[in-house]
Symmetry: C2
Subunit: 282 residues, 2 copies
């Protein structure tokens, strides 16, 4: 991927000039299979581009203080420039409190409420834009899709994908509608969109007849579904019924392989940016 080789170049330049490389720390709580895979992918991607990575794994039943301590340790570690807590956390942990502990300058996931507020407010700039929404926009821009003035529908309003994606599309001057569990007639609303971003986490929610002919469809859903014929015993399924939508949409991203790799690339970019800012390296 072109973007990764650019990041690798920058990392090498930083190493040459400063004798340092960017560092990413991940705190993983519990043994959720997808989370483990996501973390593994992030670590492997770091290795690819020369970014240092560290992972702290905590047990499912760990105390909130342990998570907090792990985050604080990385906050204070000068070799670490990006800190992220893999979500979701086990139910007994207070996600908001844990995320608030990540220092703003190291919040490479962009989930701190101050980053989110600055993403929402016109004229302000967040230190970091959440990776999946940033990857979405990157995909649209690379495909030459005009965003300004277009009708965009974001399906799903999670804090980590749906919400920031809607805010970011609005920053790019789309006319954004957010569809969620309470929306009456989601199909009809989605049918009118020039750009559909599906992030509900509901396999095959979006059928072919939900798509306006020629619309651009970004599928962020990645739900593991059991499938004995696959090596791991399951496969990842998107929110969009690809077989139906592919003949209606002008562009559609596949699952797996569409937004996922771009999300990881954006995390590397955010980590590089964090290191540059902290180390005052232009």
């Amino acid at each position: 991927m072109e973007i990764k080789s650019k990041i690798a170049d920058e990392v090498r330049r930083m190493k040459r000039c400063l004798g340092k490389v960017p560092g990413l720390a991940v705190v993983l709580v519990g043994e959720r299979r997808e989370s483990q895979i996501y973390v593994r992918n992030k670590v492997m991607a770091c290795e690819e581009v020369g970014i240092k990575s560290m992972v702290t794994e905590l047990s499912t039943d760990c105390a909130e203080a342990e998570v907090h301590d792990a985050v604080m340790q990385y906050n204070k570690d000068p070799s670490i420039h990006g800190v992220l807590v893999q979500l979701p956390l086990p139910q007994h942990l207070d996600e908001a409190k844990v995320l608030d502990a990540v220092w703003l300058e190291k919040d490479v996931d962009g989930f701190h409420p101050l980053n989110m507020g600055n993403l929402a407010i016109t004229g302000r700039e967040p230190l970091f834009t959440p990776c999946t929404p940033k990857g979405c926009i990157e995909l649209l821009l690379r495909a030459g899709v005009e965003i300004t003035g277009k009708k965009a529908v974001v399906i799903g309003r999670s804090n980590i994908v749906g919400l920031p994606t809607s805010l970011l599309l609005q920053r790019h001057h789309a006319t954004v509608t957010v569809v969620h569990a309470f929306t009456e007639n989601s199909k009809q609303v989605t049918c009118e969109a020039d750009i559909v971003v599906a992030a509900a986490g509901l396999p095959n929610l979006v059928r072919g007849d939900w798509i306006k002919p020629g619309a651009v469809v970004i599928d962020i859903g990645t739900t593991p579904v059991e499938d004995p014929s696959c090596e791991d015993g399951y496969r990842l399924v998107g929110d969009v019924c690809y077989e139906e939508a592919v003949s209606v949409a002008s562009i559609i991203t596949p699952v797996p392989g569409g937004v996922g790799p771009m999300t990881v690339a954006m995390l590397l970019l955010n980590t590089l940016d964090a290191a540059k800012r902290i180390l005052n390296f232009a």
Copy 2:
């Protein structure tokens, strides 16, 4: 207004129990006529309910440090529980910097990015919700309008009205679309809405044929338009062409007199809440 008499009751109870009343401080920069009127209305409303108010007026060409100092003085004043800077500020002042100086616990306008982030994020609560959006929802609820699942269109995406109104409507589970200057075919988009909130600041932008029959229309626009026949030489005009819309909408708020007084009431409520929180008074 019923809500004001309830606030007055609470202020009396606080005075009886603690010997203290809530205090609101307003910083007004420059001589913009509407701003002066808004501030006067806020001060008068405070008097009505027994809230103490203080106003610092600074000249149009004042230095940013002066505004900052005025804010900081009120931040530190224990008799003041709410601090607001009347917007818009003169061009040479950095609005973001000035708003960031207001202490979170006294940010009764709710414009601090951390408050805005917490308004946007599901599962979090801002310390304060911006007054006009809060007043809008209050009007809808009092009129018995169902919000959950309904299509809401917010016209305009200002940081102080459009943005927080869209976030708040979404919190109440509406399906929200934000219409702005870049929106293609705003009329068609607005036509589909069950709830229309007009906050563009463009007199008579929304015509009768923009409104779906039976829709609820909240007009937040208040633009002063010259009118020699009026006492002050001008009158306030809404974003909605009232004469046309009134026969199509099921409910419509007039300008002046609709959202304005409710906005002021919400400011009093936020100030009361701020004082209760700071003084630990239940």
